[in-house]
């Protein structure tokens, strides 16, 4: 009873800052003002998102260039596809880089049980700083005439175009979101009982087999919540593509911002937000379903 009363501020908080805004966005997405300033119900916003009168060539993962086809799609479908492409690639890279890192960190943590892990601390520390500042730092480092290229120039190599392209955006995403992949995997890995691994070894499994049959399956919940925590923000960010993309990238986050700030079309902007939210919720649903099927939960379970 007492606990329930303690939850009231939280419920109020959720109502004011999560539920009410969501309903407002849904409301805006389905309404518009006519010439006399009267509010009316409309599906025009949703229709604008899928409008076929303004199309561009679809080129997911460069497939159109590869196979030479020309498929015209509504512009927002293309923006969505481009966001999906960059988010997927960033997530995969985060996983490939993050898993070994988490593995090494977990072994380190396990060896020094009870003590704080210095390496883990180093991983978390950059997150205390604002993402905007960290991204600006990449700009200064990797600009065509930035610090890295200047140093490489002394060594007689370069200059390289590190940023203002797909690579730059991918780098910014991986850098910013890597801790969100490493931490959940790490927290699952440290919880795996050493006796399970010892048992596998006693039964004659070599280290590769032990990893593939014991450690990896047990760490799946961590991987799933890591994917969840990287993919969602990577899909919706507009800060990183804005700064590291040389102003040329319109991802779904930028498109929504533009609808509100430049085109002043709240209806289309809200419709886009709702569709993005449905997509995000659906993919989260799928992931958590997987997560529940496998045993212990990671951060999100």
């Amino acid at each position: 009873m007492k606990m329930r009363r303690l939850a009231y501020p939280y419920v109020l908080w959720m109502a004011v800052f999560t539920v009410a805004p969501l309903m407002l966005v849904a409301f805006y997405a389905l309404t518009a003002y006519d010439a006399d300033g009267r509010l009316f119900f409309t599906l025009q916003g949703l229709r604008n998102v899928f409008a076929t009168d303004n199309t561009v060539a679809f080129n997911l993962f460069g497939l159109a260039d590869l196979f030479g086809f020309n498929l015209q799609v509504p512009i927002y479908i293309n923006v969505f596809a481009k966001s999906l492409e960059i988010a997927l690639i960033s997530t995969v890279v985060c996983l490939l880089v993050g898993y070994p890192a988490a593995y090494i960190l977990a072994q380190h943590s396990r060896k020094r049980r009870g003590q704080s892990n210095f390496w883990l601390f180093l991983f978390i520390m950059p997150m205390w700083m604002n993402a905007l500042l960290r991204t600006y730092a990449w700009l200064a480092l990797l600009e065509p005439m930035g610090i890295v290229n200047t140093v490489l120039g002394y060594l007689g190599i370069g200059p390289f175009q590190f940023i203002y392209n797909d690579f730059g955006i991918g780098l910014g995403m991986v850098y910013n979101y890597l801790p969100f992949m490493v931490l959940p995997i790490h927290s699952v890995l440290v919880k795996i009982s050493p006796s399970l691994i010892e048992a596998a070894e006693d039964l004659g499994a070599d280290s590769t087999r032990t990893f593939l049959r014991v450690t990896f399956p047990l760490s799946l919940p961590g991987i799933l919540s890591g994917i969840n925590m990287v993919f969602m923000p990577a899909m919706t960010t507009f800060l990183i593509p804005d700064l590291l993309g040389g102003g040329r990238y319109l991802l779904i986050g930028n498109a929504i911002e533009r609808q509100f700030m430049v085109s002043r079309d709240m209806t289309t902007g809200s419709a886009l937000s709702i569709l993005l939210m449905i997509f995000v919720l659906a993919s989260m649903r799928i992931l958590t379903k997987y997560e529940q099927e496998s045993s212990e939960g990671g951060l999100l379970a």
């Binding site: 561009v56 005439m145 203002y164 430049v262």
Partner: protein, 381 residues
Amino acid sequence: MKKVVLILLLLAVVVSATLSGCRSGDEKTILTVYNWGEYISRESDTISWRGREYEIKDVIAEFEAAYPQYKVNYQTYDDNEKMYAKLDTESYDILVPSDYMVVRLIKEGRLLELDQSRLPNVKKYLDSRLENLTYDSDQALSDKVSSYAVPYMYCTVGLLYNQEEIAPINTNDPAEAWDILFDSAMDSRIGMYSSMRESIGVALNYYGHSLNTLDSGELDQAKNLLIDQRKNVRPLVGIDELKDKYVSGELLAGVVWSGDHVVCQIRLEEAEEDPDKLQYVLPKGSNLSVDMLCVPKNAANPDGAHDFINFLYEPEIALINAVYVGYSTPHTEALKGLPAEIINNLSYYPDDETMQSLEIYYSSEAIDSTYDRIWQAILAN
């Protein structure tokens, strides 16, 4: 006991400080100015320009000293369309939109008609050529502009290039002059503005079309050119941040407002480099653009706005701004103080014939929505 006295003393200090703060706050009325970034002098400095020394002052501080009843709240934007988007929700006293945006604001009834009797300096010093330009296909509407807005600075849109890396471009033919922007050999070394009209305008001008065309074939041509450019030349897209990149040599060529070219040259001179490293070409049929001071209808302080506009037309202040900002000044007296190389350069200060060869952007519902649609398709690629 001592502690109590100390606390009381402290309280007294705090209370008197807040009270006196209130009192001085009551005297001043706020004047909210919404201007382009880097578009008014905010520094006290000495700038040497083409061998002449200029004493620069913070114009906002000078205004607050000359009119102690006002306190300026200064904000900036870098895009006409972004400025427009804010007008519904915010109240400003001074705006500095470009010509076509001024026309749009007049049409929508968002601007206050200016009281010319409160702007004696404008009447005395404004270059009348700018009042006689045609700002809209509807002549009656164009004539209205001068009663709602006062030219602040003007410029042309042209090509900036680094002549240490690029062979001299000695032509005014738009197809030849702009060609370098679409050359894939210039991968990642080209600068483009992120504003809609400048980007589409350059592509239209390249093909020799009008900057205000509504012909869908011509617009498609421009759209495809810009989409290909984004893919193959990968230009850096921005506004104010581009200037330093031309100066450093990171970018070799790009579309610029003539004033930005002047600023780049001043920065080169400051770094003791040859300012003529960066050259400027003004293609025929390109854009002439006039940024104008105007007062929105929902301004909280229209009196202060008039005083501010009149103050900007003080000869000394207009000269400071012309030097600091680098754009062409419509102030006949300030003009006389500028270096001869600048005022004799037809790309910055076009004569009547050159002016005739340039085009002003027009605004209409059809133009605004068509161009926005094309622009979104370009951005979405």
